[in-house]
């Protein structure tokens, strides 16, 4: 009922929605994380995402499975992209469906918060001035992460 995967290809959010849609589900919530053109005031022109692939997939699967226990009846499709992404491209997509809206919304939120907290994925931001840096979310205000 739920899937989690890494991909090196552009994410097709419509196909994620199709994966979780079903006639007994009245609510579908899709979350897309996209590459922003700036971070903490610095102009960004792209991000390299890398992962500890095997563990990232395992951890993503654990998260969707936990969400399935917390929000009984939810179906989830989770996909995270790795590689070099340009501004505006989707890095992560989460589609959740449920008979009722509250669970679909809350399951989606659970998945994105847990993903950001514990899935071993890293990003190196490339700035317009030609420099680049590994992003460390612990070194900046929580509000700064998309």
């Amino acid at each position: 009922m739920s899937t989690a995967r890494l991909t090196t290809q552009p994410i097709d959010s419509t196909s994620l929605i199709r994966e979780v849609a079903a006639d007994d589900r009245g609510a579908i919530v899709l979350f897309l994380g996209t590459v922003r053109n700036s971070n903490e005031g610095r102009p960004v022109n792209g991000i390299d995402y890398s992962a500890y692939d095997a563990m990232a997939v395992a951890e993503m699967q654990r998260i969707v499975s936990e969400a399935g226990s917390r929000f009984s009846g939810v179906a989830i499709a989770l996909e995270h992209r790795v590689g070099t992404l340009s501004v505006g491209e989707t890095s992560v997509a989460i589609a959740c469906s449920h008979p009722h809206r509250a669970a679909a919304l809350e399951a989606n939120r659970y998945v994105i918060e847990e993903l950001k907290r514990r899935v071993p994925i890293w990003k190196r931001e490339h700035y317009l001035d030609g420099t680049s840096e590994w992003v460390d979310p612990l070194r900046r205000p929580a509000e700064a992460a998309p």
Binding site: M55, E59, V92, L115, K116, R118, P120, W122, W134, P137
Partner: protein
């Protein structure tokens, strides 16, 4: 015994490698792997108590490692 050690992102950059093998005494723990990596050139860039994984799942530094295990030292994650 031999264990495989994985480094990522800023930690891999600091040490200049993303994968290495270490010879450890029987009964060694995951924390011993961190100590050994921190003794390598560039290793002081790693914190003394980083996030750790043993065979692709989060682990404490006290977990015992066995021959053939895969230990990963995990920089602050930034997915999403």
């Amino acid at each position: 015994m031999t264990v495989r050690v994985l480094l990522f992102a800023s930690y891999a950059d600091a040490v200049g490698q993303n994968e290495l093998t270490l010879e450890l005494d029987d009964g060694s723990v995951v924390g011993d792997v961190v100590s050994r990596v921190r003794e390598m050139a560039g290793g002081r860039a790693l914190p003394p108590a980083p996030l750790l994984a043993l065979n692709a799942a989060y682990s404490t530094s006290a977990a015992v490692v066995r021959a053939g295990d895969e230990v990963a030292i995990i920089p602050p994650v930034a997915g999403g």
